[in-house]
């Protein structure tokens, strides 16, 4: 009872100062936020609650842990420095199990039961697409930190206008299109792939082929072998590749499956026969650490983020803090998880509100500094635009795993599809 009275008195006080501040601000900023002059003060009410979900069970459970490290660290840092707009950040973390129905249930729990203001996470494309209509209905911003399907931003956000969805990680353009820009400089003529037997693998291989065909007309693609989810034995797939005698191998296998494939490929002499190899998600920490010195040299790898790029103060300090906190190098999902929380912070503070509509308005086109460098959320499709590095694997005495040497950046302006995503001039090369 007493607490309630105090808070009401405080509220009145805040309302008073708020109006003054808003009025003063209004003078300076022109008519940017006119509603502040007569509506509630821009000070936000109550803690900022973030519902985060990622996979915490099964063979990919390690990814969920890495998401969590990044997101938890961001929440700790923000709360230590006074929170978001003076309010504490609260985060609840749930196992998404990779199943779309569980992702939907979690999202509904977060919003309808726990009272989340924002949603983040999501590993699989199927989950992201299934969630789209749900977050529209729940009317909360969902910041996707891992799922890469371009359909999410092209179809759900751009065409269907589900504005609540944003993606802070790189989409399939990076894994497909950008890889073709790396491949075009190789003397290799014949390409083959071992890729996952699901939409992600199919889409990336198609993007890679389409872009490379335009960059290097007449390039032949001689073999493709798609491995079902959960494959542990890649030997037959490797035989398919070796039989076709390609010069180049492109593979979007990732996580444990990439580790198994590389190990088994080494045993079969795959990397001696095929000289040019591209792993668009090979720069994931679980893969690099898992393979250690078994990762062959001179393979082109990339990720959604790699801890040695960009070579900036922000990134260097962040990696140091991360290692101190978790005794681990940050995985790419740690960075996207971390930055997603800071994206919410920046948006809420700029909007002066947790209101979904206001936050979406601010997030559209918002630019933010992050460990991965400067990110801008593209207005049309809500895709974060930021450059990631490609590099050739090499050993370094400083690290117990292979790192990127000879780094190269394919700028997003060169390799990302552009709105309206249909017709000429929307897919690279431009």
């Amino acid at each position: 009872m007493t607490r309630k009275r105090i808070s009401r008195r405080e509220l009145l006080k805040l309302a008073g100062t708020g109006t003054v501040v808003a009025a003063a601000g209004g003078l300076g900023q022109g008519l940017l936020l006119p509603r502040n002059l007569w509506a509630a003060p821009p000070k936000i009410k109550g803690p900022v609650k973030i519902g985060y979900q990622a996979v915490l069970s099964g063979t990919l459970a390690g990814y969920g842990e890495f998401h969590k490290m990044g997101a938890v660290m961001a929440v700790e840092e923000i709360n230590a420095k006074g929170g978001i707009a003076g309010q504490k950040v609260e985060m609840e973390f749930r196992d998404s199990t990779l199943k779309p129905d569980d992702a939907i249930k979690n999202a509904r729990y977060f919003v309808d039961s726990w009272g989340a203001d924002f949603l983040a996470g999501i590993d699989s494309s199927g989950q992201a697409l299934a969630l789209a209509p749900v977050v529209q209905q729940l009317d909360r911003v969902l910041m996707v930190t891992h799922a890469a399907t371009e359909k999410l931003t092209e179809e759900m956000v751009f065409k269907k206008g589900i504005k609540q969805i944003f993606r802070i990680c790189t989409p399939t353009y990076q894994d497909g299109n950008a890889a073709a820009f790396i491949a075009k400089d190789f003397p290799a003529v014949k390409w083959a792939t071992v890729s996952p037997k699901y939409e992600y693998g199919f889409t990336c291989w198609k993007m890679f082929q389409d872009t490379l065909k335009k960059l290097k007309p007449g390039v032949p693609f001689v073999a493709e072998s798609f491995a079902p989810f959960g494959t542990t034995d890649f030997r037959s797939h490797i035989n398919t590749i070796l039989d076709a005698k390609p010069d180049g191998l492109y593979s979007t296998e990732w996580a444990g499956e990439l580790i198994s494939m590389v190990k088994q490929g080494r045993e079969a002499g795959l990397f001696e026969k095929v000289k040019h190899v591209i792993f668009p998600v090979g720069a994931a920490m679980d893969v690099l650490e898992g393979l250690g010195k078994d990762m062959p040299d001179n393979i082109w790898i990339a990720g959604r983020y790699f801890f040695l790029y960009p070579n900036s103060k922000t990134n260097g300090e962040w990696v140091a803090r991360f290692r101190k906190r978790w005794n681990h190098y940050p995985a790419y999902v740690s960075e996207t998880g971390y930055s997603s929380i800071y994206a919410f912070k920046a948006a809420v503070e700029k909007a002066g509100s947790k209101d979904t509509k206001a936050v979406i308005q601010v997030l559209e086109g918002m630019s933010m500094n992050s460990p991965a460098g400067n990110r801008v959320f593209r207005k049309e499709d809500h895709q974060a635009i930021y450059d990631v590095a490609w590099g050739k694997t090499k050993a370094d005495p400083k690290y117990p795993f292979k790192i990127m040497g000879e780094m190269k950046v394919i700028p997003t302006t060169v390799c990302y599809n552009r709105p309206p995503f249909e017709g000429p001039g929307t897919a690279p090369p431009f």
Partner: protein, 288 residues
């Protein structure tokens, strides 16, 4: 030629590998009449324990293979003695449900004890590396698996057919009441057979450490269905059938992946359905 030989070899090694896991499953079903859904979890535990021995205690592959599965036997003993024993008389679905509960528990415990991320094993020494066969490299370790499979099969056959213990096990599996009447302590025998079956599964896990090259919580879930299929195609309870089925399935899916990739997800299931439609009791099962 080179291609066909290598596809065959890949199929043989994966078939023999599945056989190692399916043998324990088949033995347990044959004697106890229990379909052990948690067999994949014991396989996973075998892998994790062997890995731990290999990485943290003795950097010797053979010691890992010896000690790892032994630890799992202790877990298997507890499961049989305090839980499974009480559902022998219940219908099949209840046994599945009970063992499913253990799948959840073990998967989660592995995550808590060994961490959520994948683990990769250290080098195993002399079995590493490859030998050229018809101009293409083939891993020594896979040849080793191709050798171990038949070895285990022969050892099992000898143990069941030529030893006193084997005769008792066979007696108990064909008629529990009769065995009990002639003085066999059936509960103790069941415990023994279950633990031995678990040991076989865990041995498969220990061998998987270099074979798969990767340990993840949940690694048992992918293998258990394959092992089930092998056991069913062979005829539940028939070791001979399971051995043959594993061989056929391994080679067939290897050829399928190489030459009919569109069907590689269907292939095992088509094979199982076809066999069951023609011979409902499996290749070597008794018509019950």
């Amino acid at each position: 030629m080179q291609s066909i030989v290598h596809v065959c070899l890949a199929g043989l090694s994966s078939g023999m590998f599945i056989w190692l896991v399916a043998s324990g499953l088949t033995l347990i079903f044959g004697v106890l009449g229990v379909l052990n859904f948690a067999h994949g979890s014991f396989y996973m535990l075998g892998a994790y324990f062997s890995y731990t021995v290999l990485r943290h205690l003795f950097p010797n592959f053979w010691l890992g293979l010896l000690l790892g599965p032994l630890c799992v036997c202790a877990v298997g003993f507890v499961v049989e003695r305090f839980f499974l024993r009480y559902v022998y008389r219940l219908a099949l679905p209840y046994q599945l449900l009970l063992t499913f509960a253990f799948v959840l528990i073990f998967d989660n415990l592995v995550k808590i004890v060994w961490g959520a991320g994948s683990l990769t094993p250290p080098d195993i020494g002399f079995l590493a590396g490859s030998v050229p066969i018809l101009g293409r490299k083939f891993p020594v370790y896979n040849l080793f698996i191709i050798g171990v499979g038949p070895l285990v099969a022969v050892a099992l056959w000898l143990a069941l057919e030529r030893t006193w213990a084997g005769r008792i096990v066979r007696a108990a599996s064909s008629d529990r009441e009769m065995a009990s009447a002639i003085g066999v302590r059936v509960p103790a025998l069941y415990t023994g057979v279950f633990v031995f079956g678990i040991w076989l599964g865990a041995l498969g896990g220990g061998l998987a450490v270099p074979y798969v090259g990767l340990l993840t919580p949940g690694m048992g879930e992918t293998i258990i269905i394959e092992a089930f299929i092998v056991a069913v195609i062979g005829g539940l309870g028939s070791l001979k059938g399971a051995f043959l089925a594993a061989l056929v399935l391994g080679v067939l899916s290897s050829f399928g992946t190489r030459y009919f990739p569109a069907f590689d997800m269907f292939l095992t299931f088509i094979l199982m359905a076809a066999v069951l439609l023609v011979r409902p009791q499996g290749l070597f099962g008794d018509a019950r």
